[in-house]
Amino acid sequence: MKTIKKITCIALVLLIAVSAVFAGGSSESSAKKTYKVGICQFVQHVALDSATQGFMDALKDALGDSVVFDNQNASGDMSTVTTIVNSLVSNKVDLILANATPPLQVAAAATGDIPILGTSVTDYETALDLKLNNGATGINISGASDLAPLDKQAQMIVELFPGVKNVGLLYCSAEPNSVYQINQMETYLMQMGIKSTRYAFTDSNDVASVTEAACKSADVLYIPTDNTAASCTEAIRNVIEPAKVPVVAGEEGICKGCGVATLTISYYDLGYTTGKMAVEVLKNGADISKMPIQYAANPIKKYNAELCSLLGVKIPSDYTAI
């Protein structure tokens, strides 16, 4: 038994030494007909899943069979993100898709050479701690932002509920994109002379109790594009429905679950836009450091017919039903 342990120890040391030698990485043939694209998605969730699907569809439409995907999901764990990015970088993929802020940050730290495209990220400047120059980062990163037109969403709240006194801003304190959107919303509402109060929950365990507290003092609730809220829409609906407090949502998934109306962007389209940027980089050799961050186009006003009739909300004619 002792000899086996000795051999294991020696083998481990040898493995570490050999890996240091191989650290240079294996050389690939210069003519790359197949593009290897690595995807790191932060967590399983409808909007992020749609963005990944849109991205893959765009690449498949343009490059057909000559693109191979390595699609990994970190299940919300930061340390798994680091491991996934490490394996993508060491496999020398041609492009990395970072779906959400943490993969974007970890990929940006891990490599300065492999082009990185972000998607479903709201604010690139804070995430990467840099200043955008004409919308471009100047380094190996670009992508699409899911920043929805928050001023128009604030206007939507006033349009649908003209007598509103207090808007409750419901969000998950652990999500940087939500915090950013809530900050902006608060400012826009204040400019329109409407009082707003923040109600932050830490994770899916407190959603119900925080929503209860919010319903007691707010007339209308607003939920931004928050991953945690989007996965707990049933819990939120069970609170707001008996309390008869309508919810204006930041995206369609949340609106379908518990909201009355939304000014939504399509995450699938966002992913598709990112995919088209990837094609530019891979096939047409575009310089990623000069590509400006693209924003979601064509937000659509949508409403949830069932909840609107349950809560007695009148919807103007320019809204589409979900």
Partner: protein, 302 residues
């Protein structure tokens, strides 16, 4: 699925393993030496990074920021210690309470933003995943080997002193230690402070390594720490008897854990199953000594 890609992914896994190895040493101090199950580490694992990154973003020197991260961790350990000794709360609950409150405190440290990036281009970082394949002094593997060696040296010196020996005695047999005149409450508090200070140091290093601090980055950290401790006990328990070598074994345990995770990814298994697989790995490592014992008993009876 060639072996070359696995081997080229190993430096990253080793670097991550060495950083979590520092955290595992902190967990080892409370779990094995003091015999307390300290769950504060899930919170402290984000506090260290938060303090370090926010200070560096505001212009502080790297070493000052690291030192403050360690101090912040020690304060967290102090709070758990007070909950446990002065307020009589059982150790596990005390750890959970501190971990819960650290969530809000970490958010406050980060300016109520859940996530803050730090750019390796703009700041002088001690470790960065950017340099993991560079042959030179900035390679995080090299830096972490030195950090681990220094840490083990300091701890070896400390636990040889009277206070250190008192800590070990407290963990070994609390009643006997109290009978011998050792202030066991003070020892537990000091032990928790040292352990959480070390975990905060690991957190600060990990935040620099991955280029960001996230308020949830410590979640599940205790599992990784315990996995490393258990792997080291099983693999190196019979080889390493010296205290310093045991700490080294813990660090190696963390490295082995991350190498196994990297192999799992390389095998192409669904990352969604990663947590299940980690649990299975730890379970098997825990079962090995038990099965060995039963085999030995069976052989004796035959």
């Amino acid at each position: 699925m060639n072996i070359g890609s696995l081997i080229s992914a190993l430096p990253g896994a080793i670097a991550q393993g060495l950083i979590w190895g520092v955290m595992a040493i902190g967990v080892y101090l409370t779990y094995k030496v003091l015999d307390i199950a300290d769950l504060t580490v899930d919170g402290t694992m984000a506090t260290g990074g938060a303090v370090c990154v926010m200070m560096m973003l505001n212009g502080a020197n790297l070493w000052v920021a690291l030192l403050c991260a360690v101090l912040a961790g020690m304060i967290a350990g102090l709070v758990t210690g007070i909950f446990h000794t002065a307020m009589g709360i059982p150790a596990i609950l005390a750890g959970i309470l501190t971990q819960l409150s650290l969530y809000s405190i970490n958010l406050a440290i980060m300016g109520f933003k859940a996530n803050q990036g730090i750019n390796v281009r703009n700041y002088h970082l001690l470790v960065s995943s950017r340099n993991v394949k560079v042959i030179g002094p900035q390679n995080p593997i090299f830096v972490m080997i030195i950090v681990t060696a220094l840490l083990i040296g300091v701890l070896y010196w400390f636990f040889g002193r009277e206070i250190g020996a008192a800590l070990r005695a407290t963990g070994s047999n609390e009643h006997m230690s109290r009978a011998q005149g050792i202030n066991v409450n003070r020892c537990k508090i000091i032990g928790l402070m040292i352990s959480n200070g070390i975990v905060a140091l690991a957190s600060a290093l990990f935040a620099q390594y991955q280029g960001a601090v996230d308020v949830n980055m410590g979640r599940g950290g205790i599992v990784i720490g315990l996995a490393a401790v258990i792997i080291s006990t099983v693999l190196f328990g019979k080889i390493f008897h010296n205290f310093a070598m045991k700490l080294l074994g813990v660090s190696l345990g963390a490295v082995i854990y991350y190498i196994v995770i990297q192999i799992v990814l390389w095998l192409g298994l669904n990352t969604n199953l990663l947590k299940l697989l980690s649990a299975l790995v730890v379970a098997i490592f825990l079962a090995i000594p038990y099965w060995k014992g039963k085999l030995a008993k069976g052989a004796k009876n035959a």
